[in-house]
Symmetry: C2
Subunit: 275 residues, 2 copies
């Protein structure tokens, strides 16, 4: 999906909601456990109930990997199911390795012959340029680079101040990586719990999309994120996982997921009217 297509999708749906598919067998409604592929059945029901309200879906690969080959199969079916909808799909994988290895990770996420045809993958910056570039070699695909994450551990290294430039490490990651890609193939992960930093970040990268996790269960505020993070094209994908997909643990889980999504989408529509 191109940048313009994504922007049009946001305008059309009046939403910049990304739904995180962190699907966990221990948390899905018990009646689904009797089906052949409970994880896929759960995802399918969530997607069916919410696809008019969300512009993006983000399966979190850890949750599928922890179920071994069965989980990998559920993920493949989910990604294939998503292809029929007009949505942006993100493999939340946080991958990154030396060049010839990252090339294989890129193939895994972006080459349909491997089973996956995601629009984007999240990547970790620690290993530098040659660990990220192979993802950018796939035409029409996106890298979403970790910059400032939503967790407590983000203070350990991301917030450290560098000697020469005086930048925090996460700022240096943003600045350096601007040499690798453009606003048409790179986004950045900025945690909603760090909304106060968004204004400064917007000055550094006015045109890039930001993927913002941490609204909901992790405590970030959508209002703050929209206030400081939005640009003229919206420029935001705000993710909610647990707050939507586990809104109910009963048979009404999909309806409740739709209700939660609808609440968020309606709030987003208000903020979009200002951009």
């Amino acid at each position: 999906m191109t940048r313009n297509e994504l922007i049009n999708l946001i305008r059309e749906k009046q939403s910049f909601l990304c739904i995180g598919l962190d699907t966990d067998l221990n948390k899905i409604p018990p009646h689904l456990l009797e089906t052949e592929d409970p994880v896929f059945e759960f995802n399918k029901a969530i997607i069916d109930a919410t696809n008019e309200l969300a512009v993006a879906y983000k399966p979190n690969l850890a949750f599928y990997e922890s179920m071994g080959i069965k989980g990998w199969t559920s993920l493949a079916k989910t990604e294939q199911y998503l292809r029929q909808f007009n949505v942006f799909t993100i493999a939340d994988a946080k991958r990154g390795d030396i060049g010839n290895t990252s090339k294989q990770y890129a193939k895994a996420m972006f080459d349909p012959d491997s089973g996956f045809d995601f629009d984007a993958v999240t990547a970790a910056p620690y290993m530098g340029e040659d660990s990220v570039k192979p993802f950018l070699d796939f035409e029409g695909k996106w890298v979403i680079l970790l910059a400032l994450t939503s967790n407590k551990g983000s203070d350990d290294f991301q917030m450290l101040t560098l000697g020469k430039s005086g930048f925090n490490l996460y700022e240096e990651v943003i600045i350096k990586s601007l040499e690798w890609g453009t606003e048409s193939d790179m986004m950045y992960v900025i945690g909603a719990t760090k909304a106060e930093k968004l204004e400064k970040i917007r000055n550094m990268i006015p045109d890039h999309f930001l993927l913002v996790p941490g609204v909901g269960a992790q405590g970030g505020s959508l209002k703050e994120v929209a206030k400081y993070g939005m640009n003229q094209d919206c420029g935001l994908l705000v993710n909610s996982s647990r707050g939507i997909i586990y809104a109910s643990h009963g048979k009404d889980f999909a309806d409740k997921a739709r209700e939660e999504s609808k609440k968020i989408q309606e709030e987003m529509a208000v903020y979009l009217s200002n951009c």
Copy 2:
């Protein structure tokens, strides 16, 4: 495997060789492509031919993921096959995410119910403490944290100097992470191409094991690594991937892999006599 068991294994085999299973369908001998699971057949032959000479095996997950469910199946069979040998097994996955997600990645690599029972996993430090700790919660398992990697991109962030401490980022990663684990459950990745840094690193972490990739195809020197990196318990696992597994592309590939491994093991035995 415990630290003592690993040290005994190194003494017994007179080797600190780790063989990287970066198995690529485009590089394995063509006659294997006719078998039902060429990747597993290749790995099995390599393991059979080299397990007396190597103390560790390190499948690189990217190469399996890029083959989708088939690749994941080959990886599971490979890990299960390795269980019969007295070797240390490393999932080279470079994982790391917020706490509840890293817990799922840990389960994927360390909980046999998921299919995998690796001894260790490589992890990326960018997201800090709560992204690494869940791996350490698995008794008897190891985290191998990226510190200073062997690729060109390691200069981009790992070598940056921090303002307050004056340390390079990779040094700060080592120092900070000493609060998270011990020499009995943590190791560090230090690229062989950075052998000149090993002396300084040894002063910081005299007792920790180091996983050293980059000997062979990437140009690092085993002699230099042993000279500057070895401690009284050896303290090194030196990895070679392409130089061993693709030593021949013909039907003699396993024999040639053994020959290459033997050469390296014999050189290692000389260095071990000094420690």
